[in-house]
Subunit: 202 residues, 2 copies
Amino acid sequence: MARLLTELEKLPGVGPRTAERLAYHLVRRGPDEGHQLSRAIDGVMESIRPCSCCFHLTDQDPCSICSDSDREAGRLLVVSQPKDLEVMEKAGWQGRYHVLLGDLSGPSGGADDGTADASLRALQARLQNEEIEEVVLGTNPDLEGDGTALAVAERIEQWTGTRVKVSRLARGVPTGAAIEYTNPAVLAEAIQERRALYSGSQ
Amino acid sequence: MARLLTELEKLPGVGPRTAERLAYHLVRRGPDEGHQLSRAIDGVMESIRPCSCCFHLTDQDPCSICSDSDREAGRLLVVSQPKDLEVMEKAGWQGRYHVLLGDLSGPSGGADDGTADASLRALQARLQNEEIEEVVLGTNPDLEGDGTALAVAERIEQWTGTRVKVSRLARGVPTGAAIEYTNPAVLAEAIQERRALYSGSQ
């Protein structure tokens, strides 16, 4: 029982009391329900793998996005993790993705199990084999994400010269915010990267 | 007493109970402290006026920013209200300002006491009399603020043709945010306005 509680507590949002409640629920429902859950977990653990093309976690290979011929194949959006891909889908991105599965630089010095390196090698292969016109870097707009974006941009330039267009998400004030409550650092960047509406003739 | 409570409750963050606490504090402290407070309020009410140049609220005319010769005189940042000016100062803006003191368009149809119109006329005069190179629109990144920005941009173009450069704050993901918790509408705009790092040769 202690081992089950320990494992349950590793789940996000599950503290000691929730873990106990879940464990007792399983015990009360009897062995069948427990085994079904454990088999379902095992099943997912065995079937979910990084897509061999884009490294998104998937139970089919290539994943449903890589094998969807209706997507814009010439544009790749690079994200750090599968959750970021999901929110980019909600934002309406029409192209394909490449998931790093880990950040490459940052305070942790890029400590990593090697998945990010494998993902980068796969990205290099895609840039050689697919007709990629543009790579959009969609890492987090923070120190670690910016470091990762810079590292990926430099690799792409090493691999392809200037053949492939590389861009990053716009940085600025988020739609719907109020200026008076906006962080000065965010405003400073929004001023710095301001966008011309009429360009002036002087 | 009821009238004082009503007036105190109009202050931001002051509910009935806080109003009572403030009122009884004044009563306990005796008439001198109360009169000092009321004279201080009257004094500010009489001395604070919109700057005749930029419409920032100030007790000197022109305000300390308009009369500061160290500021970049050729760039104006247009904001909706004095609070927005204050946060732009924290963000490090080096130029001058123009405060609209009200939004010009939006759901309320621009209902306004005429101050925004007076501020706009003052802006027109500044564009004619000062050597303004660029106007940056710094209204809120929401429906009402965007409507105001558009209206001001159109006026400036009517007044000056394309002589004056008009720009707006960059819109995008705010520095420090996490992609996975970012609003899809914000991400969609950040994708739309993405910034080229390497521009590609195809």
